[in-house]
């Protein structure tokens, strides 16, 4: 059995105890709510996209240490990035969670290099398959918020 130290790394607990970018953004910022139907966790993601850049992001909601720390790190990682970079980052992160998503027909993977940085700390989650949904909740919500922001 994988040990708890693989899951509850110090940096994860730090983000859990002191979440970054907590709060809300008023409209016209995009807003999406994500639910984990298994455990009832909820995450709000607010995105301010100006031109091609994510200029601000805030996170609300409640959940376990994994979903909350993942959301906190996600918010740090996407702030100031371009939409293309963020999409690439989501793919990298999901890849780390062993979720390989098919690209829509005719679309190619963006050729941008993104580093996961602190997010690497969440790598241990893969050894606890039940918790993968916790780690990816904020990211799926981010995708929804991005879709809203870029369609407007």
């Amino acid at each position: 059995m994988p040990g708890l130290e693989d899951l509850y790394r110090e940096i994860i607990l730090d983000h859990y105890r002191t979440p970054r970018n907590r709060g809300e953004l008023p409209p016209p910022a995009a807003h999406a709510v994500g639910h984990n139907p298994l455990c009832g966790d909820e995450i709000d993601v607010y995105l301010q996209v100006d031109g091609d850049t994510i200029t601000d992001v805030k996170v609300g909601g409640q959940g376990c240490s994994i979903s909350q720390s993942s959301a906190s790190m996600m918010s740090q990682a996407v702030k100031g990035r371009s939409v293309t970079e963020v999409r690439a980052l989501v793919r990298r992160f999901k890849g780390m969670m062993s979720i390989e998503e098919e690209l829509p027909e005719g679309e190619r993977a963006p050729e941008v290099e993104v580093k996961l940085g602190d997010l690497e700390a969440l790598q241990g989650v893969v050894k606890f398959p039940v918790r993968i949904k916790c780690a990816t909740l904020a990211w799926n919500t981010l995708i929804e918020a991005l879709a809203e922001a870029t369609s407007a």
């Binding site: 708890l4 607990l13 455990c39 009832g40 240490s65 918790r131």
Partner: protein, 410 residues
């Protein structure tokens, strides 16, 4: 102790399993129960010696299988004191039983504006079928509220039931552990001219059940929570009601005749058992009922009252305000199922940490989201005790909670 738990545990092969050299502390029986050797053997033996189609073929093997299947139905009748075996319908689980009532009885009898009363502690299985009917038919749903200690608040029951066609409620909450006053609720329903539909999924595994003493109209439960296999459940219904209802699922076994221009449904119980039923599972359920009757359901109940008392005393003594046990404190009106919050540690994290000590408990919303909103939590941890749990299991839970505090630095 009322039950000899050590000898009971010895009869459950899975409870002998060790993970990382430690014994298993299974505290998730409200979710699904483990199976005793007699159930496993009965199913294996049936498949090895007597398995055949039922109700369809003339050869001896098929006749034997049909008889064993119908024996299981009789065992259920006896176990819940139903008046007739033919009113015992085998379903897939309690969820299907409740859906059957909502679809078949509900569609035939409910129109826009008709009222169905539920309680605020219902499982999704006793909410969503009614929501679906509300969306389709425009029926109105009313909700019996809860008291602060997690019992039904019956103050305004008669006005809530005024004009209602049905009152569908749980006999025991899978989150709070609350046992509801079923007979009183059935009487109140009938006084208002409404049917009484009882979700007995959490009640039947732990108590003496008597559907006639309840004076209920429908009672649904699942085999897998009462030491039987998954894949089979029971809906008992009052004969006159079942006879008056249209069939639910259509197909083989549920017909008396099929023509190009229509069909005639079969008699009870086949009318509500379309297709090949869970045959081996019925044999397993029969063995589970025999097992429970040998122990005596009154003894099972007494044992769980002892465990519930010990769990409340131990956890409160050890953790005081750091633990928040939901539901009633009086063991007369509760079973041994406890949802709780512990030191602000999220239930997911708690159950993960406890898993390291082989303490299995459920974290989440337990398919009761409306109640979760009332408790103002997104999730709880839930420890549920059964006839194979004893004080050592309570102690193991209490010890494991300490470990969780260490990790989260609380």
């Amino acid at each position: 102790m009322t039950l000899d738990v050590a000898s009971i545990q010895a009869q459950f092969p899975l409870l002998q399993r060790k993970i990382n050299g430690q014994r298993l502390v299974y505290l998730d029986s409200a979710n699904t129960s483990q199976k005793p050797r007699v159930v496993i053997d009965a199913m294996t033996n049936f498949m090895e010696t007597s398995y055949a189609p039922i109700n369809r073929s003339a050869y001896q093997l098929a006749a034997e299988a049909t008889e064993a299947f119908e024996h299981a139905r009789k065992a259920v009748r006896r176990f819940i004191n139903a008046p007739h075996a033919d009113d015992v319908i085998f379903t897939k689980n309690a969820t299907e039983g409740l859906n059957l009532v909502a679809y078949s009885w509900g569609r035939a009898n409910l129109r826009a504006g008709d009222v169905v009363v539920l309680t605020q502690m219902e499982h999704h299985a006793n909410i969503v079928p009614w929501h679906m009917l509300a969306a389709e038919r425009g029926i109105e749903l009313r909700w019996v509220p809860l008291t602060n200690d997690g019992q039904l608040d019956l103050t305004n029951l008669s006005s809530l039931l005024d004009g209602a066609k049905a009152f569908a409620f749980t006999a025991m909450s899978n989150v709070l552990g609350t046992i509801t006053p079923v007979r009183q609720l059935c009487d109140a329903a009938h006084a208002a001219g409404a049917l009484a539909i009882v979700d007995a999924c959490q009640y039947v595994p732990h108590n003496v059940t008597d559907v006639q003493a309840w004076d209920a109209d429908f009672v649904a439960f699942s085999s897998h929570k009462m030491c039987g296999p998954s894949g089979i459940g029971v809906l008992w219904g009052r004969q006159a009601l079942l006879e008056g209802m249209p069939p639910f699922l259509g197909g083989g076994n549920m017909i008396a005749d099929v023509r190009m221009d229509g069909f005639a449904p079969a008699e009870l119980p086949a009318k509500f058992e379309a297709g090949t039923p869970p045959i081996t599972e019925a044999i397993g359920l029969h063995a589970a009922i025999d097992f429970l009757e040998d122990l005596g359901m009154a003894n099972v109940r007494r044992h769980e009252m002892e465990i519930a008392t010990y769990a409340m005393d131990t956890l409160n003594e050890r953790y005081g305000d750091d633990i928040c046990l939901h539901g009633p404190t009086n063991v007369e009106v509760r079973g041994a199922t406890f949802s709780f919050g512990f030191r602000n540690i999220h239930p997911h994290d708690l159950s993960q940490v406890l898993d390291q000590r082989n303490v299995c408990l459920r974290a989440g919303h337990h398919c009761v989201k409306p109640l979760m909103r009332l408790l103002n939590v997104n999730a709880t941890a839930r420890a549920s005790f059964y006839l194979y749990n004893d004080q050592h299991d309570v102690d193991a839970l209490a010890d494991a909670l300490d470990g969780a505090s260490d990790i989260f630095g609380l």
